[in-house]
């Protein structure tokens, strides 16, 4: 079953011929995939995040003008008019294209293990499109920050992610302002003058927002039990004040529009203590130095190892495998291919009986691959994930989608899978014997009773639905 495990568990499910291609040396087949960047397979054109952010700024202006117009016009008429949100309208085509491109890449890629790793890291560094401000750029983080670094060093991946405008916007850091920053001091002086003139007007106060700092520690590096305290969170939040996005208005003016930018005037000046170490004032470098230390911290190695083992081996990550990966991470200085090699060398990952229940993503992508199809319209993908409960780029929280069976295995969820499978099967033209399809998609995992059921199926579409809903296809 080594070949099946390489293709079905490490990969994204077998395309026709893929099991045969991996059969000679499944481990070498995997290792060959984890070198260099992992660009999208397929050819749906995507706009880069900076361009999308620039469109967003224009749409925000339009929204402001609309609001002003509504306020000036007849209120009753405006209330009856359908709600048009320029920001959403500007974002929507980008979101749809990103979802389609991702699904096509998963369906077509010849490097499915590398593609799964892209998905893994994208979920580790989750941004969620249900936040209006990142709806249209949520998918760009995966393509721009993760795909180039997935087979590189962890620190480069981490830096690219935390300095990606989608992450900055998702966790609110662009507005986080040091209390003693230039901007806050200036505002305080102006406020004092204004109060002298208008004593009742409250002073505008600036301060930090802890969100990004906390989630970097809890979710991206050390893990929740990684040994940091509330004061470390607060201190780190001060250290990364000024990590922002270029091209805004007012206090966010300046910088290259839509790109990460460091705003010195928002940055809390001075040396700061974090995890018992003092970081001297160094502007942007102060935060980068913290990220470098976090990337090299043993708690980070252990946390990443645990998540990788949970994803590739079992919900309850076997400690021996975690230990092996954590050591590889630490000794290699976070060289990710070395960590992946340790994963591939772990016997626990090759247990033919220990299979994970597929997430909706796994199910949809492996179906595309098994049936050798690639979606052509965003709707096909959007509707599928809406139905199956995993709207793309929308985990709803910075923790990403859960990676354990219990989170996906409800009876209602199963019924939705049956419905989806029967719809897909109903549109699919089966060109081969369904038993051959079982063999090309499941190899040795196809059970005799499934083969019998496929032979006895009343129609070819029923056979395809039965195959997709068979217990062995629902696990990886």
């Amino acid at each position: 079953m080594q070949t099946e495990i390489a293709v079905l568990r490490f990969g994204l499910g077998a395309r026709p011929g893929e099991l045969a291609a991996a059969a000679g040396d499944p481990r070498a087949w995997l290792m060959a995939q984890v070198r260099a960047a992992v660009p999208l397979a397929g050819n749906t054109p995507l706009a880069p995040s900076d361009q999308i952010f620039i469109e967003l700024l224009a749409a925000r202006d339009e929204r402001e003008q609309m609001k002003a117009g509504v306020a000036a016009g007849a209120a009753g008429e405006a209330a009856a008019a359908p709600v048009f949100n320029p920001v959403r309208e500007a974002y929507l085509p980008h979101y749809r294209a990103q979802v389609l491109a991702r699904a096509q890449s998963a369906a077509l890629t010849a490097r499915p293990f590398a593609e799964r790793l892209v998905h893994f890291w994208s979920n580790h560094f989750a941004v969620s499109a249900d936040k209006g401000a990142v709806f249209g750029v949520a998918g760009t983080l995966e393509n721009e920050a993760i795909r180039p670094h997935v087979n590189g060093r962890f620190i480069d991946l981490l830096m690219a992610v935390e300095q990606h405008p989608a992450m900055i916007a998702f966790l609110d850091n662009q507005y986080s302002v040091g209390k003693d920053s230039e901007l806050a001091s200036l505002a305080a002086r102006r406020g004092a003058r204004a109060r002298a003139a208008l004593p009742d007007k409250p002073a505008r106060e600036f301060g930090i927002n802890e969100n990004l700092a906390r989630e970097i520690l809890e979710l991206h590096t050390l893990g929740v039990n990684g040994g940091y305290s509330q004061s470390d969170v607060t201190s780190f939040a001060q250290i990364i004040t000024g990590w922002s996005i270029g091209g805004g208005k007012g206090r966010l003016a300046g910088g290259t529009p839509g790109r990460f930018c460091f705003r010195e005037n928002l940055h809390e000046p001075g040396a700061k203590s974090f995890l018992g170490k003092t970081y001297h004032e160094d502007g942007l470098r102060q935060g980068e130095a913290v990220l470098e230390d976090l990337a090299g911290h043993p708690a980070t190695a252990r946390f990443i190892a645990t998540k990788l083992v949970r994803h590739f081996v079992a919900d309850d990550a076997p400690p021996a495998a975690v230990e092996r990966l954590a050591r590889a991470f630490h000794k290699s200085g976070g060289d990710l291919p070395t960590v992946y090699a340790a994963l591939i060398a772990s016997p626990e990952a090759w247990d033919a009986d220990a299979r994970k229940f597929k997430t909706p993503e796994d199910f949809v992508f492996s179906t595309f691959r098994a049936l050798d199809m690639s979606p052509r319209q965003p709707e096909e993908v959007l509707r599928s994930f809406e139905l199956l409960g995993q709207r793309q780029f929308t985990p709803g929280s910075p923790a990403g989608w859960p990676d354990t069976s219990k989170s996906w295995d409800g009876s209602d969820a199963l019924m939705h899978r049956v419905l989806w499978a029967s719809r897909v099967a109903g549109r699919y033209t089966l060109a081969t014997d369904p038993v051959d399809l079982a063999s090309s998609s499941l190899g040795g995992y196809a059970r005799p009773e499934t083969v019998t059921a496929l032979r006895r199926a009343a129609s070819s579409s029923q056979a395809v639905a039965l195959l997709l809903m068979s217990p062995e296809f629902q696990r990886r």
């Binding site: 249900d130 966790l171 609110d172 507005y175 986080s176 302002v177 209390k179 409250p202 106060e205 600036f206 301060g207 930090i208 927002n209 802890e210 969100n211 906390r214 809890e218 929740v224 509330q230 969170v233 139905l387 199956l388 409960g389 709803g396 929280s397 923790a399 219990k406 989170s407 996906w408 295995d409 409800g410 009876s411 209602d412 969820a413 199963l414 019924m415 939705h416 049956v418 419905l419 029967s422 059970r447 009773e449 499934t450 059921a453 199926a457 009343a458 029923q462 639905a465 039965l466 809903m469 068979s470 217990p471 629902q474």
Partner: protein
């Protein structure tokens, strides 16, 4: 055998496919009939609700200066709080809850928290749901363990609880069987396919159990939505997600032999930036919640007098507004217990105050009541779960959290 098969019918499942053998993978009837027993709905607000906005302590001398533009004004002011007593009010978006308060059907708890004292959403939600003092240590939830205790005590067997979701959240996971059902419509699936799947799953216990649960739940939802003798009326599409979820919970609970316990989840409470005050982002969320609770009462209809609805969140938020007109992760928050079965019209709060020295870690509302004291009281007084089981199996190591008394009408 015939009779139990017809009870398993998912809509017309099997009726048109007599030629196919009905698989043993579909076991016996899942729901027994119940009389006028208690109903419990638990609403989990994921993301940490700002209790100081939902239940503003308007009379606290430090409230307005800390919460600044996020603070809700005293009752009587423009956009002011809905009055509860001389200290606390309700956010102006919570009109339905305020009606329940006036009707004596709402207890408002304040300065409450689970035993969790750090500020991770995910660990916080684990503790809220696993019933322990720490985030790890068990893979099941306190509500499931309470149901298991009822069944060990000779209570009704089978699935007594439903998660209104495609999947079961931690609070309901465990040995006692539960079902899940999302409000999203699953149009009729080809019956013959289902029947053949039942056969295909016969050697896989896990899949066969899930399929039979799903089939049974569909049937309940159909019956509840369309009771015998009434014509099916097409429902308007749910205008908001949590409202649809609440309606689905009520529909299932109303159906004959339906579950007595339901869990609903609502997310989007993590208001780090631009939280708003009497209007704005959080106000809209609260209005959605309020509307959903109203829908729940309307749909439960005659069951409302025997119902208790518990609304909880994983922790509260900072007492002071942060630098981005929002609030960061905190500790103490509020909770609600509403329903016809509730002895309400009261605020239960041992108020620690918001003075600098009173705050936890100089930043958070200090909790003075353990949420498990509320959970135990509701489970014991309302659901009749044995007090000893509550103190041991359901909430291990919870001696410090003694059950409150008199939350439920005698």
């Amino acid at each position: 055998m015939r009779r139990s098969h017809s009870a398993l019918t998912r809509r017309r499942f099997l009726t048109g496919s007599g030629a196919l053998a009905v698989s043993a993978a579909l076991p016996n009837v899942l729901f027994a009939r119940t009389g006028g027993s208690a109903r419990l709905v638990v609403v989990i607000l994921r993301g940490a609700l700002d209790g100081l906005a939902a239940v503003p302590p308007y009379a606290d001398p430090n409230y307005a200066s800390l919460h600044r533009e996020l603070a809700i004004s005293a009752p009587g002011a423009a956009d002011g709080a809905l009055a509860l007593d001389h200290t606390f009010g309700l956010h102006p978006s919570l009109a339905f809850l305020h009606e329940r308060y006036s009707a004596g059907e709402l207890v408002v708890f304040h300065a409450v928290a689970s035993p969790y004292r750090d500020r991770s959403h995910f660990d916080g939600q684990n503790v809220l749901e696993n019933g322990l003092a720490k985030p790890i240590g068990t893979a099941d939830g306190w509500l499931n363990r309470a149901l298991a205790a009822l069944q060990r005590g000779g209570g009704r067997s089978g699935e007594r609880a439903v998660a209104i979701s495609q999947n079961v959240p931690l609070i309901l996971r465990g040995d006692a069987p539960v079902i899940s059902k999302s409000p999203q419509m699953t149009p009729d699936i080809d019956e013959e396919l289902l029947s053949r799947l039942a056969d295909l799953y016969s050697k896989d216990d896990w899949f066969s159990a899930r399929l039979s649960e799903a089939v049974q739940t569909e049937k309940l939802a159909d019956e509840g939505a369309n009771p015998a003798g009434q014509a099916a009326a097409p429902k308007p599409a749910a205008p908001d997600r949590v409202g649809g979820v609440a309606r689905m919970a009520a529909t299932l609970m109303r159906s004959e032999g339906g579950p007595e316990v339901a869990v609903i989840e609502a997310s989007g409470w993590d208001t780090h930036a631009n939280q708003g005050g009497a209007t704005g982002a959080l106000a809209q969320r609260l209005a959605g919640l309020d509307k959903a609770l109203r829908a729940l009462k309307e749909e439960l209809g005659s069951l409302w007098p025997q119902t208790a609805v518990l609304v909880v969140t994983e922790f509260g938020r900072t007492a002071a507004m942060n630098g981005t007109r929002g609030t960061d992760h905190g500790t103490g928050s509020c909770a609600f217990l509403a329903g016809g079965a509730v002895r309400g019209g009261r605020v239960l709060a041992d108020w620690p105050g918001l003075a600098r020295t009173a705050l936890l870690d100089n930043r958070d509302l200090r909790p003075t009541l353990d949420l498990r004291s509320v959970f135990k009281a509701v489970l014991n007084e309302h659901m009749r779960v044995d007090a000893r089981a509550l103190a041991t199996r359901v909430f291990p190591d919870s001696n410090g959290a003694r059950p409150l008394q008199g939350l439920i009408r005698a």
